[in-house]
Symmetry: C2
Subunit: 262 residues, 2 copies
C-alpha cells in the first residue's frame, strides 16, 4: 500500500502548497510514482503544477460529492511521474454541502481506496500527498482520515507557533476516533531566514514542545520558490541549481529515507 | 456611526492579523477610539494584543451564539484607545454549529449594532476593525455583512494573487444580497520586498485587474513586525523607530485620510 501523507497546518501561508508541489516533484525525480491531491478551494496546487485554472473535467469536488470516481479526476502535470487530482473553486461550498453526509469525514479515504485497488500494479502511486486548506474543517479532516501520516510545514515565527498545540490535539482526536493508524510524520521548518534570532527561538520552542519531531531539513526562504508557480513548474524544473531545489531534494531524501531506492 | 472595516483575504499568511493589530494601534495613536474584533479561531489577534490565550470570560464565540451581548466580551489591550473582542479556540466549531441558524450571516452585525447603540457617546468606538480567518466561510461572511468596507491585505506573489478575483466576487455577492452599503476600501500590499521583480510584476498585475484600488502605502517586510506579537504589543510600542511602525502609521493616515484630525 502506498504512503499517504496529509500536508496540514491551519495557520495560513506557511508553505503547505509549496511543500506538496516540490516534495512531490523531488520524490518523482528520485523515481517514485507520486499522486498529489489539492483539497484547497483556492486551488493553488492545481495552478502551481498545471498553470491552468480554466481546466475542464471532474475535480476533487466531484469526487467528494460522489459524482465521479477518483480515477476520472486524475491528470498529468508538468512533472513526469507526478499526477494530480485538481481542486476547483466550487470546493469552497463543500464544507457546508457535505456537513450532513453520512460518514462525511471518510469520503476521501473511500474514494482513494477505490482508486488504489483499481489501478494496475505498474501505475499505482507509491506516494500520495494531500495539500490542505488553512483550516481544521471537513476538507482537512478528510485528509487526516485518508492519511497514514501528517507532515506539518511551519514558518518559524511566533504567530505561526500558536496553532501547533491545537493541530496536534486534532490529529490525536482523529487517531482515537476515526483513524487509529494516523501518526505525526514530522514538522518541517519552511520560509527559514537563518539570520534572525526569532527563527532560532521559534525552532527551539518547537523542539521543546514536540521533541524529535522537527525534521533535519530546513527549507530556506528563496524567491525562486515564489516565482516557480507562475510558470506552472516545480522548483526542480524552474531553477534546478537554486537553494529551493536543493532543500526540497534533501527533504524528499529525508522523508523517503527508510524506504531506500525504488 | 463608526467606520466598520473587514480585513479579509482567504489566502493564508498575507498580513491580515498584523494589519488589524497595527492599523488599530496607529489609529488609536492618532486619537481615534478603536475596537478590534478577532473572528479567527486561531485567535492570533487576541494573542498579539493581549499576549494571553488562557483568558477567562466571554469571547466572540459566546456573542455569535447569542449567549452574551458584545459588551460583555469587550476588553482592554496593551494599547490605550484600542479595545478588543477576543476569539477563542472553540470558534473553530462555529461554522458548523451556526450553519443552520436563522439569519446566520448577520449575527455579528446585530450584536455590533446592539453594542454601538448602547455605548455612551464618549466611549463609542469611532473605528471597528474585523480580523478574518483565511477562508470565505460563515465567519468571514458575518464580517462582510457587518462592515461598511473591506480592506484586503495582499502579499505581492503569484500564488497570493490567485484568489483575488474570487474574493471580489464574494464581496460583490454580499453587496447585492445582504449588505448594499458594502464597498471595497482598498488593497494594501504587505510583506513587500522591493528588491525582487516578482513584487513589481505582482503589483502591476493588481493595478491592471482593479485599477486605483491599490493603496499608496506599502507595508515592507520587517522582522520587528514578526517579533512584536510575542511581546503582546503593537509595533508602535515594541519598535517605535522601525520601518514597520513607520509603514503602519502611514497606512493609518491614508485610511483615515479624508476624516481629518479628531
Ligand atoms: N521557502 C520559500 N521561500 C520563499 N517563498 C516561499 C517559500 N515557501 C513558500 N513561499 C511563498 O510564500 C507564500 C505562501 O506559501 P504557500 O502558498 O505554499 O503556503 P500555504 O501554507 O499553502 O498557504 P495557504 O495557507 O494559503 O494554503 C507563497 O506566495 C509562496 O510562493
Ligand atoms: N510586514 C511584515 N514583515 C515581516 N513579517 C510579517 C509582516 N507582516 C506579517 N508578518 C509575519 O508573517 C506571518 C503572517 O502574518 P499574519 O499572521 O498577520 O497573516 P494572516 O493573513 O493574518 O495569516 P492567517 O491567514 O493565518 O490568518 C506572521 O508570522 C507575521 O508575524
Ligand atoms: Mg496552500
Ligand atoms: Mg490572521
Amino acid at each position: 500500500a502506498p504512503r499517504v501523507i496529509a500536508i496540514l497546518n491551519q495557520k495560513g501561508g506557511v508553505g503547505k502548497t509549496t511543500t506538496t508541489a516540490n516534495l512531490g516533484a523531488a520524490a518523482a525525480r528520485l523515481g517514485r510514482r507520486v499522486l498529489a491531491c489539492d483539497l484547497d478551494p483556492q486551488a493553488n496546487l492545481t495552478t502551481h503544477l498545471t498553470g491552468d485554472l480554466r481546466r475542464e473535467g471532474p475535480s476533487v469536488y466531484d469526487v467528494l460529492r460522489g459524482d465521479h470516481p477518483l480515477a476520472d479526476a486524475v491528470r498529468e502535470t508538468s512533472v513526469p511521474g507526478l499526477s494530480l487530482v485538481p481542486s476547483h473553486l466550487d470546493l469552497a461550498g463543500a464544507e457546508m454541502e457535505l456537513a450532513a453526509a453520512v460518514g462525511r469525514e471518510q469520503l476521501l479515504r473511500d474514494a482513494l481506496a477505490g482508486f488504489l485497488s483499481g489501478a494496475e500494479d505498474g501505475r499505482r502511486p507509491e506516494l500520495v500527498l494531500l495539500d490542505c486548506p488553512p483550516s481544521l474543517g471537513l476538507l482537512s479532516l478528510n485528509a487526516l482520515v485518508a492519511a497514514g501520516e501528517v507532515l506539518v510545514p511551519l514558518e518559524p515565527t511566533f504567530l505561526a507557533l500558536q496553532g501547533l498545540a491545537k493541530l496536534l490535539e486534532v490529529v490525536d482526536l482523529v487517531r482515537r476516533r476515526l483513524n487509529p493508524g494516523l501518526r505525526l510524520g514530522g514538522i518541517v521548518a519552511c520560509l527559514v531566514d537563518a539570520r534572525t534570532t526569532l527563527t532560532a527561538e521559534a525552532l527551539a520552542e518547537v523542539e521543546r514542545h514536540v521533541p524529535g519531531k522537527l525534521l533535519r531539513t530546513r527549507i530556506r526562504r528563496n524567491v525562486r520558490l515564489a516565482e516557480a508557480p507562475s510558470h506552472g513548474r516545480s522548483i526542480l524544473d524552474y531553477a534546478p541549481s537554486s537553494r529551493g531545489a536543493e532543500d526540497y531534494l534533501a527533504l524528499a531524501r529525508e522523508v523517503l529515507g527508510g524506504e531506500g531506492a525504488p
